[in-house]
Symmetry: C2
Subunit: 584 residues, 2 copies
């Protein structure tokens, strides 16, 4: 029973559900619905799909998430980046028949859903961590640019097919001659009004004496006004006849029950794209969910989030939708509007369902340029180059990762960009750890502390070399340490003892173990004893399972100071002292 | 000038070269030559190439290494594993024309040479470290088995083409009917004598009163005796007519000057194989070189070794040879025989050159079964499953890497095997570090030491949580730490302070930095102060370049004890105390 409960978070919050929470959920749902209708149409357009698929992707998936999701404010549905990745994934297939394209999108959502569910059941949420923050930031920024650029075709009313910046701009230049001026006028009007709505509307409403809350809600409805106005104009002056692309016929009625295409060839072609969409979608969704949860001292369960999002995508697939995830801006609106439980999402689903039942005819004359404008205004907020500056200041390696991700995403598209980003992050991390920081240390006079001989004025002895290793030892850096030590001891100094300080060594894998054994052998050949000090408990447990400790020419000291006390006197003198000691 | 010297180690040892060193080098060269003649023929056979290419690969490459190499005992030339990889690489091309096959081998040597030279010039020797010891051990063992199995075709005198264990055994079963009994007889005779020579010959010679040294040298010549005997038998009874495969016509004369094939398509097909051959060859060669150098307190320069081996492979390519590297057994023999400088290698080259000039006619009737026998006896010493036991005892993760490498190499061939091994090592390492060890610590009474509250009986305070992080923080484990801390503090305990102890944190990359900033924000929202203690110098320098330290709700303490002293009193009491303090 508890097992089942774990997978059904709804059982926890439904118990305490009451009128008060219902009211705030309903208000939030209303606002989000108003925001979601144009967004869902626009993102479907961005994904290269018929407008209604955006609406379908905004109904059942929200209900599924309300049942399986753990975030109380997350607003699931079509989002910009995932829509762009969907477009790229479908473009790879080189289909032309709209029915096949729609079916491919449905199948993509289904595969992505299965991947997310599998990751959830096997608790593989940590895989998302291999997308480093710089890579994500760079990817989102580059995607924002790609998306905005890709929408120019609707603003100019020309044909474009590219999925990389060079292609898109190339297409634009090539077809600029076919620009439809009325479309451009509508596009520019919509973009400028929408930008003004973002910045200028709320203050204006406030100056009209509205309460901040109402002003806020009305401002949220701003985009709807733009849609209504441009639709009316297009209808009145029959601009469709004058080359203005319009949404046109949108089927009325609830989502059709669909089944994905189970052709193995297609699954094979879509799998990598689905995997990338799943991981990017999960990362984007979980980060906003965590941020909003933290504000209310709530926790979200990442592995359960995978199941929630997986269920949503499967739901999208069986109801004629396409891949969905938790959207950032919408979730923030949902939270600000007072959503208290995932039920808010379910209510939003009802709102969208009503819209698909009664409002689709009104969308017939909606110009695509207006939708493109809403997308452009939405995604430009994703573009943020400050990450480049921040990374440059903090670490050149991280900067390289961001810069490469941005450039590769723009130049070769989202899939190459994000894959390269991940591989690069891992490669750079391995490169860094393959050259560990090793410091030769000495005793800080009158203390028991040991510090870098280059940074501090410390006590040393010519027959004693103490090296502090500042990195876990594993296959990639074991040989480096060996070379470092052997180079250090091949000198004319009368070295008797080498002490390796391990306070920062958290792991010694088998390659490193064999290297230490080898190092011990070679130092012994040179008549030098190898000692270890300050070895961590877990590492010690591990070493006890090997021959190293028995073969070690020296000893293992709990503290470096102890080692120092024991070894600081060179052998001859010590024996001397000992003899003296015995004499007394 | 010094720049040039760095790339020409010969300039260092040639100065001090004298008659004494020359003598010992000559003796070593003689013994190695006797050993190398049959080996070079056999390994050429293993690589699926004409016998003379083995001889050609044993002349110029040795001279090149003598000029550019840094090891004084390494014996460069054809070796078993690289020959097997060459066979696999050429098999990928699916060629049938012997001339094309030979040219492909020459080109492979050339590409591999260029790769090694490039790695040397750019000091990329560390790349070889990404082959973990367990992976190498597993790979060598599996290769030994593959090689031995692949030679059965010559022992049974049947056709076989497979490059994986299932294929090879399948071929054997399929063609067992065509077994040539005379060939089998020769094969079994050769194998058993060679095994006896390894174990039994030297003691026998000693019992005949030979000096250990001479006995040793004669024993080394044992394989030659087997070759002479079987060749004579084959010639006397004209066994070639009775289906015994013989080496046949081997062209007399010095290696021909050859040029590799520069067809880009071919280079494209061979590149990955050449890369794998280069890295495996380098690792095998550098490890034996280091072992032998250490015995004489000498050092080898890994990056210069790359240049030495690169030059050798280019030399092999321009003189009709195939990929070469430093062989383990031969180098040990060379060292034991008293080689003092790389000149020994040059002298060996002269010996082989003489052989190609005058001895090749004598090889005409040499049965391939004899060569196969020498290979089998040689490679079975590479097979060592003890690594499995050792790995199992030490770490299950390393065991997984060895086992997978062995299985994949046997099942899918050398290239898949070694690639999978590398990827697996990296993946397992990332997985391990993605779940860092975090210990909650308390004060050991009457000391300044802090230890794990689960392992020791320590002092703690309910308002104070101290977590020691035992891993560098980077993108793959940053979120794990965040979740860990947030889970720890979401309890009914009146927590006021969280102290993160960083004595073992050697790196904080940008993802981890942003996670710490986020953690600080969230803890602040919960009214909990975040403190850091025992932050390393390099990490501190890095953090100073960020906003973390200024935004931190708590402080950074040099020592954990200091933090403890400062924070151990809960806020209300402290203010109380302070007021008291001021009263006095």
């Amino acid at each position: 029973m508890h097992q089942i409960k774990r997978y059904l978070p709804i059982l926890f919050w439904a118990k305490t559900y009451n009128r008060q929470t219902a009211t705030s959920d309903l208000v939030a749902a209303l606002i989000v619905t108003i925001m979601l209708i144009p967004q869902s149409l626009a993102y479907a357009l961005l994904a290269g799909l018929p407008a209604e698929m955006g609406l379908y992707a905004s109904i059942l998936p929200l209900v599924a998430y309300a049942i399986f999701g753990t975030s109380r404010a997350l607003s699931v549905g079509p989002v910009a980046v995932v829509s762009l990745m969907t477009a790229a994934a479908i473009a790879n297939l080189g289909l032309s028949d709209p029915v096949e394209i729609a079916m491919a999108a449905v199948t993509l959502a289904f595969i992505s859903g299965l991947i997310l569910l599998a990751m959830g059941f096997f608790r593989l949420g940590f895989l998302a961590n291999f997308l480093s923050h710089p890579v994500i930031a760079g990817f989102i920024t580059a995607s924002g640019i790609l998306i905005a650029a890709s929408q120019l075709k609707h603003i100019f009313g020309v044909q474009m097919h590219g999925h990389t910046l060079p292609q898109v701009l190339g297409d634009l230049v090539a077809h600029i001659g076919q620009t439809n001026l009325i479309t451009v006028a509508i596009g520019i009007f919509a973009v400028s009004v929408l930008f003004w709505v973002r910045k200028g509307l709320k203050p204006l409403l406030l100056s009209f004496g509205l309460t901040p809350r109402n002003a806020d809600i009305l401002a949220k409805a701003g985009p709807v006004a733009v849609i209504v106005v441009t639709t009316l104009i297009t209808w009145l002056f029959n601009l469709g006849e004058h080359g203005v692309k319009i949404v046109g016929q949108v089927p009325t009625g609830l989502p059709p029950l669909t089944l994905p295409n189970f052709n193995p060839g297609l699954w094979n072609q879509l799998f990598v794209s689905a995997l990338l969409i799943s991981i990017i979608g999960f990362v984007e969704s979980v980060s906003v969910a965590q941020t909003l949860a933290a504000k209310k001292r709530q926790r979200i369960e990442p592995d359960q989030e995978l199941i929630g999002l997986g269920a949503s995508n499967v739901a999208a697939a069986v109801s004629g939708g396409y891949p969905v995830t938790g959207g950032f801006s919408r979730s923030v609106v949902n939270y600000d509007a007072g959503a208290e439980t995932p039920a808010a999402g379910a209510f939003t689903a009802v709102g969208i369902a009503v819209a698909t039942l009664f409002m689709t005819p009104l969308l017939h004359f909606l110009p695509k340029a207006t939708l493109a404008a809403t997308i452009i205004v939405a995604v430009l907020s994703l573009v943020d180059f400050s990450i480049l500056k921040k990374a440059w200041g903090y670490s050149k390696v991280d900067f390289a990762a961001v810069a490469a991700t941005i450039v590769l995403t723009l130049a070769f598209g989202v899939e190459v960009g994000v894959s390269a980003g991940v591989i690069l992050s891992i490669a750079l991390h391995l490169y860094k750890t393959s050259r560990p920081h090793v410091a030769e240390v000495g005793l800080v006079p009158d203390t028991q502390h040991f510090r870098n001989i280059l940074r501090h004025d410390v006590e040393t002895h010519p027959h004693l070399v103490t090296l502090r290793v500042d990195e876990s030892l594993y296959f990639a850096n074991a040989r480096f340490l060996e070379d470092y030590v052997l180079n250090r001891v091949t000198c004319d100094q009368p070295i008797e003892h080498v002490i390796l300080m391990f306070p920062a060594v958290n792991e010694v894998d088998m390659s490193a173990l064999e290297t230490l054994e080898e190092l011990n052998r070679r130092l012994t050949d040179m008549g030098i004893a190898l000692h270890l000090s300050e070895v961590k408990g877990p590492v010690m447990d591990r070493l006890k399972r090997s021959h190293l400790l028995t073969d070690l020419s020296g000893q293992v000291f709990l503290s470096q100071y102890e080692a120092w006390q024991w070894l600081k006197v060179p052998t001859p003198e010590r024996t001397e002292q000992e003899s003296i000691a015995t004499d007394q």
